[in-house]
């Protein structure tokens, strides 16, 4: 039963990403051509809502569902891994128009061809695991 809330949040996420068309290859292409405000509006609104929400959590010491004050771990400091890894990710995102969330959502929606993208993403994740000690971080 403790998993039901995650299932419901996931369903909401899947519906929103599909209905906002953030899962659409076309919308990602249009965004990278700067030919629509739609995707930029979505990302910026989500960040503004997120910044305000997290500030409310932190400043009021809001207690989370697990009974502890809400804490969010800082990202590890670094530069090379973020810029190189980010650019590699972006190259793929700009090509196939799907980041990891939409890969799952689209397969669930019945676009089984995206299973090929999923397979690629699994191979990519595996390759990183094999090579990570040899990569600049």
């Amino acid at each position: 039963m403790k998993f039901i809330k995650y299932l419901l949040v996931g369903i909401l996420f899947g519906i929103v990403l599909t209905k906002s068309e953030a899962v659409s290859w076309y919308r990602i292409y249009e965004m990278f051509q700067f030919q629509s405000f739609h995707m930029f509006g979505i990302i910026m609104t989500a960040i503004v809502v997120g910044v305000i929400g997290i500030q409310i959590y932190k400043r009021n010491g809001v207690i989370g569902l697990d009974g502890k004050p809400i804490q969010i771990a800082d990202k590890e400091k670094g530069f090379k891994n973020y810029i190189i890894g980010g650019t590699i990710f972006g190259l793929g995102w700009g090509m196939i128009g799907t980041c990891p969330g939409p890969i799952f959502i689209l397969i669930g929606a019945g676009f089984y061809g995206i299973g090929i993208v999923f397979l690629g993403a699994m191979i990519g994740t595996f390759l990183y695991g094999l090579l990570k000690d040899k990569l600049p971080h």
Binding site: L17, V23, Q33, G85, T87
Partner: protein, 185 residues
């Protein structure tokens, strides 16, 4: 102008995505979709090859449940909440797509070129989808997160590393959309 069964407006969509992230934080978790790829690698036995995949993946089961929900959500949205009126693109975008021989939306979320059975098993499209996926998987693990973990969660928490990663996302995406796609198609 907006319809529940058409494209949801950016401000509603953005608000709800922010709310999803805040809910998961309230549950004591962090919003991040690409970590599931690592978890799935571990479950598939990748720990035999790299200690990167030897971790307590059972602690990540909640995230796999989010993924399962997201898949159900995608199914509901496409089959019960859509009337085929969505994906109205800028006409300039459609003209560019025509030049690359990529079919225009017609209410579809994805081009037939990347989804139809005839197309996806041609070497070119199969390789395109596989390699694109590989870059997404490799890059998101290298950068320690994807759009959900860095662009939404990290940026909301004012993390400099996430800003650097997001700059990378856009540098890569712009190169792909302006140079790679016209080269490939």
């Amino acid at each position: 102008m907006y319809s529940f069964y058409g494209t949801w407006p950016w401000y509603i969509s953005g608000f709800l995505i922010g709310a999803v992230m805040l809910l998961l934080i309230y549950f004591g978790k962090t919003f991040g979709m690409s970590s599931n790829l690592r978890t799935l690698c571990s479950i598939s036995g990748a720990g035999k090859f790299s200690d990167f995949f030897r971790f307590d993946w059972k602690a990540q089961r909640w995230n796999l449940v989010v993924v399962l929900g997201a898949m159900i959500g995608g199914f509901i949205a496409v089959h019960y909440l859509s009337d085929g009126s969505g994906v109205n693109l800028n006409p300039a975008t459609v003209a560019q797509l025509n030049e690359m021989n990529i079919d225009a939306p017609h209410g579809n979320l994805l081009p037939e070129l990347f989804t139809s059975k005839e197309a996806i098993f041609t070497p070119k499209i199969f390789g395109f989808l596989l390699f694109g996926g590989l870059l997404v998987g490799f890059g998101s693990r290298y950068a320690g997160g994807c759009t959900s973990g860095h662009a939404i969660t990290g940026m909301s928490n004012l993390q400099l590393p996430s800003l650097i990663a997001v700059i990378g996302f856009f540098v890569g995406g712009l190169i792909a959309a302006h140079f790679l796609l016209p080269l490939i198609f």
